[in-house]
């Protein structure tokens, strides 16, 4: 018997499910990513460095990370307010609003890109009024941030909702009876409780923004060195049949994303360690 040396568990099929999980992850995630790294290796060290680290590419990295970070921050802040409102209050059309949150998930990103461009272009609904104020949205980094904020919102709201639902009334009442005002209750009791979920939402929104292509290319204008995001650069390379060059840039993004996700997980662990503890 294969189980004779291991502890018996009630749930059967550990070997089967574990094997399946590893195989599936390998086929779908690990092997393509491995192939990507291998392909970029065909350039040799100098070729790789020249393709992945020249001024135009560096500008695109800076732009991509900066706009992604800012949009994730914006989403974390406003997403918190939206999630809070949806959980805590009964308002007319609540389920409708709740459904609308998911729209950026469901829309083809190109559709959102075109919609946003139409609205924010110089002669669009909003752009028309922003232009005289000296604010240009379309074809600037600001436009990219708008697009990334749009597509990242559901990540923050959907991760926060269950966390906010979980805060029990009594904890807040305890804070109030101890003399804390609303602001102190929020800052010292509620926020630390939902911080892990907020961090996760931020990380998801940020990660999604790093890889976004469809909604950004229309509104950004794609000017090299100014509004050219890394994903677009990769596509451009591919269109020029420079496969190795494209994979070199992609490998850089892969490493960066990996480091970021790792850092965020580390932060999560550090934060969660405190109150998971032994029971």
């Amino acid at each position: 018997m294969s189980t004779s040396r291991t502890t018996r568990t009630i749930l059967p099929g550990f070997g089967l499910t574990m094997g399946y999980t590893v195989l599936y992850l390998s086929l779908v995630v690990l092997i393509p990513l491995g192939a990507l790294v291998l392909k970029s290796g065909s350039l040799g060290w100098h070729g790789f460095w020249a393709a992945a680290w020249n001024p135009r590419v560096i500008a695109s990295y800076e732009l991509t990370f900066f706009t992604s970070f800012v949009s994730a921050l914006i989403n974390a802040f406003f997403g918190l307010i939206v999630a809070w409102t949806l959980v805590r209050y009964t308002l007319p059309g609540k389920s409708f609003i709740d459904a609308v949150i998911d729209l950026p998930f469901a829309l083809p990103t190109a559709v959102s890109g075109i919609a946003l461009t139409a609205v924010y272009a110089q002669n669009g609904w909003f752009g028309r009024y922003l232009e005289p104020l000296g604010i240009r949205v379309a074809f600037t980094p600001l436009g990219i941030i708008v697009a990334l904020t749009f597509i990242g919102l559901p990540f923050v709201v959907r991760t926060l909702q269950p966390a906010i639902e979980e805060i029990d009334r009594e904890t807040e009442e305890a804070a109030a009876s101890l003399g804390a005002n609303r602001w102190q209750t929020f800052w010292r009791v509620i926020l630390p409780t939902i911080l892990p979920a907020l961090l996760t939402g931020f990380a998801l929104s940020f990660a999604r923004a790093l890889g976004e292509y469809g909604s950004v290319v229309f509104i950004s204008g794609n000017m090299p060195m100014k509004t050219e995001i890394t994903s677009l650069l990769i596509i451009t390379k591919l269109e020029q049949y420079d496969y190795a060059g494209a994979t070199a840039i992609a490998t850089m993004m892969l490493v960066a994303s990996f480091v970021l996700l790792f850092a965020i997980n580390l932060l999560q662990w550090w934060n969660g360690r405190k109150f998971r503890g032994a029971v």
């Binding site: 029990d168 305890a174 009876s177 003399g179 005002n181 405190k274 109150f275 503890g277």
Partner: protein, 358 residues
């Protein structure tokens, strides 16, 4: 701090949780609000704390030591509130939980850091948690959590301590220990306290006075002895401890149970009518033979001698179950067994007439 409540009502939707309740509590008292779930006891406690507000009524008053606090929010009432499920801040250590109330004080009133530290240590010592300050709530047992919650509530030097079923989520042994401990603590610090509980044993053991509530109203207020031995209503009689109920009647001003006239119950001017007769198990005696005193025959159906008394279940000839508590000596002397035919002698009883009820 004395507490004065007048004409407090509260309705949730169509459900009336409190009906015109008035209650006054003396300085330094420990009062238990006792009642079944849905009797309004927790609602009353939350209204005192300011976590709920009573219905608008020009006569309604909530006073702490003559000061009207009805319009003050919970944060400004200086009450310590202890919740059934502790409601500790789970992202804070026990130390930080206890310090919370002092840390959120306005800057002018806030004690210095060293003063907060020493006060927290003092409180942790008081609730016997010294040395556990660095732990997180998830690392404590239920009893420890509740003591931490109590220390947290006491940290702000509350004028009133309110405890909402504080031991309800704990197991029987821990509950009993904490109950006795709470009483000793109260004798030490003398803060006016209100304890909500549905456990009559807890209320009778801990409190100076017991307020028995039912359907949003107060049924009786009195010392544990008064409410147990001199219940004023049928509800109090039935809710506090086990009781045997018989359908008797009034005849020519006298309470009758079967053919037996019950001593000490006279209803002058009442010729005829139904009466409810209550007897607690310890108010009945069992003998094997008739001795001339009023008694009725019964048959022993079950015996439980595990405890400080023997609990005997008997059945009368008309099929009613009657519980009798005997001392262990009496039980052994009678050498009862299941099926034994016996005579039951009422020692004392209480009679309620339906229309005499309050």
């Amino acid at each position: 701090m004395s507490i004065e409540l007048q004409h407090i009502s509260k309705t949730y939707g169509t459900y009336q949780a409190l009906r015109d309740v008035s209650l006054s509590i003396k300085d330094g008292e420990l009062v238990a609000l006792l009642g079944p779930s849905g009797s309004g006891k927790t609602t009353l406690l939350r209204i005192i704390a300011g976590l709920d507000s009573p219905e608008q009524d020009s006569r309604s008053r909530i006073r702490f030591h003559e000061e009207d606090v009805a319009h003050r929010p919970a944060a400004q009432r200086r009450v310590g509130f202890v919740f059934q499920h502790y409601a500790l801040f789970r992202h804070m250590s026990v130390f930080e939980n206890v310090a919370f109330g002092m840390r959120v004080m306005p800057r002018k009133l806030r004690p210095a850091k060293a003063a907060i530290d020493s006060r927290v240590h003092e409180l942790l010592q008081l609730v016997q948690l010294d040395g556990l300050g660095k732990r997180f709530p998830s690392q404590l047992s239920g009893g420890q959590r509740q003591r931490a919650a109590l220390a947290r509530a006491l940290a702000v030097e509350p004028r009133v301590l309110l405890l909402d079923e504080p031991f309800g989520a704990l197991d029987a042994k821990v509950r009993q220990d904490l109950r006795a401990w709470l009483r000793r603590l109260h004798d030490e610090i003398h803060v006016t306290s209100i304890l909500v509980t549905h456990d009559q044993e807890e209320a009778l053991e801990v409190a100076d006075r017991v307020v028995v509530m039912n359907h949003g109203q107060i049924e009786q207020i009195g010392t544990p002895e008064e409410v147990f031995h001199k219940p004023m209503t049928r509800f109090v009689m039935e809710f506090l401890g086990q009781v045997n109920m018989f359908r008797g009647r009034v005849q020519a001003g006298k309470a009758m149970l079967g053919e037996v006239a019950l001593d000490g119950h006279y209803f002058p001017g009442k010729e005829q009518g139904a009466a409810m007769v209550y007897m607690r198990p310890h108010e009945l005696d069992i003998k094997l033979y008739k001795n001339g005193a009023p008694s009725f025959p019964a048959k022993v159906t079950r015996i439980n001698p595990a405890g400080s008394i023997a609990k005997i279940t008997t059945q009368t000839t008309d099929g009613q179950n009657v519980l009798v508590d005997l001392s262990l000596e009496d039980y052994q002397r009678l050498s009862l067994s299941e099926g034994t035919h016996v005579y039951i002698y009422p020692k004392s009883s209480r009679v309620f007439l339906p229309e005499y009820e309050i």
